[in-house]
């Protein structure tokens, strides 16, 4: 598995070949609180970098989930739709959101590495 990259919208992304796995960060789940609803993109759908590709809701509010890269949705994680509390439990592991067949590898260049993201998250929280 390759390195994890992060977006300013608090998504994480890992890459295996040209298949990217995307989820939301632990920091994002801490900001959101208890997640009680998740909506994922349709399999086969095309999504554009920085476009919405799902929704998460806490008891308080709804938030869009964005895709940090463009591509075709090849798989979605039904288990987080059935039990959204899994997103709070393991956001950067088993509670991934969707997998994309990546269109343009260059889109990864604008994303942050872990160190950069941690700094960004800390600054945006304060």
């Amino acid at each position: 598995m390759s390195d994890v990259k992060f977006s300013k919208e608090h998504e994480w992304i890992t890459l295996e070949g040209d298949i990217a796995t995307i989820g939301i960060t632990k920091h994002a789940t801490e900001m959101l609180g208890d997640i009680v609803f998740a909506e994922l993109p349709e399999k086969g759908a095309s999504v554009e970098k920085d476009g919405t590709a799902g929704v998460v809701e806490s008891t308080k509010a709804a938030s869009d989930v964005y895709t940090p890269i463009s591509g075709e949705v090849v798989d979605t994680n039904q288990s987080i739709v059935d039990d959204p509390s899994k997103i709070n439990e393991d956001p950067e592991g088993s509670a991934w959101f969707f997998k994309l067949k990546m269109k343009d590898k260059a889109e990864l260049d604008s994303l942050m590495n872990k160190e950069e993201y941690d700094k960004f998250a800390k600054e945006s929280a304060s």
Partner: protein
């Protein structure tokens, strides 16, 4: 305007609360355990709510006061026993609701608990309606703490002997560290519990005692999910100046005797609506899937006609699913009527349902 803090602010901060501004006050929305855990703890054990931002209005006067208040509230106040409480409304001439409130008969007068966002305006309206004839005090020197949940009676009676004998919607004066505190058996979560009015200078100490006995601080976030599951209205959402108590499906709170006699503000409209029916009415709404329909979500019937709007909607942790309340046209208000909720451009099936979503466990003597 400077944001106000309650006398428990420091305790909230020490308990690592996340704060939110609510009605001009810095209030805890949640603590580290989160809304779902706080909600469940209240249902299963005992939660403490700082509701000191709410108004505590003391009005003192003689029999004329009772008569004058009956011109304002649709209640049989002449027969309200000492230390007994009633849920009621402050209305305009069209029976639109300025505020919903709890009024308690105390010695020489009444104590009225008002919503935080409405209290200053309520005070002005009431002073005008009462022609400045009576002593009125919107008391900022007192805090208001609620303790709610099945273990609350044990916890509170360990500190204040005798509270276990209070029946639902009644109260009395007690002492805490030689200070007079007023306790009623009431609340807004659908659980058995108490509300304690006490001087600011002992509020923190008192709350710490409750915590020592096993109760936990609960934020406004869980207060909202608890009251919604209990089918209780929140001012500014289910209730406002454009809605009447009959439309809000709260006619149980209006004295039948007073309606037949009329002679209170809004009585003409109330009377008319009770006889002729209303065009829109508050209902409970249960989405079929997991979709959460928030405030302002549009409601459609099976023929795709727009028939109403959601006023509150969230995930109910005890129901373990989404719950909502809203207003629909009267003809679509029957239980089990199939409706559709438009969320993010898609229409999702839902059903009109009875309230509450979660069965109340108020203790003995529930009065209506």
């Amino acid at each position: 305007m400077e944001i106000k803090k309650t006398s428990l602010y420091q305790l909230h901060q020490d308990s690592k609360a996340k704060f939110v501004e609510f009605a001009g006050y810095q209030m805890p929305i949640q603590y580290p355990e989160g809304i779902v855990e706080e909600h469940k703890f209240t249902r299963n054990h005992s939660g403490i709510f700082d509701v000191s931002h709410m108004g505590q209005l003391f009005i003192y006067g003689d029999d004329n006061l009772i008569e004058d208040l009956e011109k304002i509230f649709p209640l049989d106040l002449k027969n309200l026993k000492l230390n007994h409480s009633k849920y009621s409304f402050l209305m305009n001439d069209e029976a639109g609701i300025y505020d919903d409130l709890i009024i308690t008969k105390i010695e020489k007068g009444f104590l009225i608990i008002l919503n935080a966002a409405c209290k200053e305006n309520d005070f002005k309206i009431l002073r005008r309606l009462l022609n400045n004839k009576y002593e009125m005090l919107l008391d900022n020197e007192r805090s208001l703490i609620a303790i709610q949940g099945p273990k609350s009676v044990k916890i509170l009676s360990d500190i204040i002997n005798g509270v276990e004998d209070l029946s639902f919607m009644s109260g009395n004066w007690f002492f805490f560290q030689e200070q007079k505190i007023y306790i009623t058996r009431s609340g807004y979560t659908g659980e058995d519990g108490f509300e304690i009015s006490l001087p600011n200078n002992c509020a923190e100490n008192f709350t710490k005692k409750l915590i020592e006995k096993g109760a936990k601080l609960i934020g406004l976030g869980a207060r909202d999910t608890l009251r919604l599951e209990a089918g209780l209205c929140l001012y500014g959402h289910e209730l406002d100046k454009d809605k009447t108590p009959v439309e809000a499906n709260l006619k149980w709170a209006i004295s039948k005797d007073r309606v037949s006699k009329g002679n209170f503000i809004g009585s003409n409209i109330i009377n008319k609506q009770l006889n002729d029916g209303v065009s829109k009415i508050r209902v409970g709404i249960k989405p079929e899937g997991r979709i959460i329909a928030r405030e302002k979500t549009k409601i459609f019937n099976q023929s795709d006609l727009h028939i109403g709007e959601i006023t509150s909607g969230t995930f109910g942790p005890s129901v373990n699913g989404p719950v909502a309340m809203g207003y629909v046209e009267n003809e679509f208000s029957k239980k089990d009527t199939k409706i559709f909720l438009e969320v993010r451009g898609k229409k999702h099936p839902a059903n009109i349902c009875g309230l509450p979503f979660y069965k109340k466990s108020y203790v003995k003597g529930a009065n209506k």
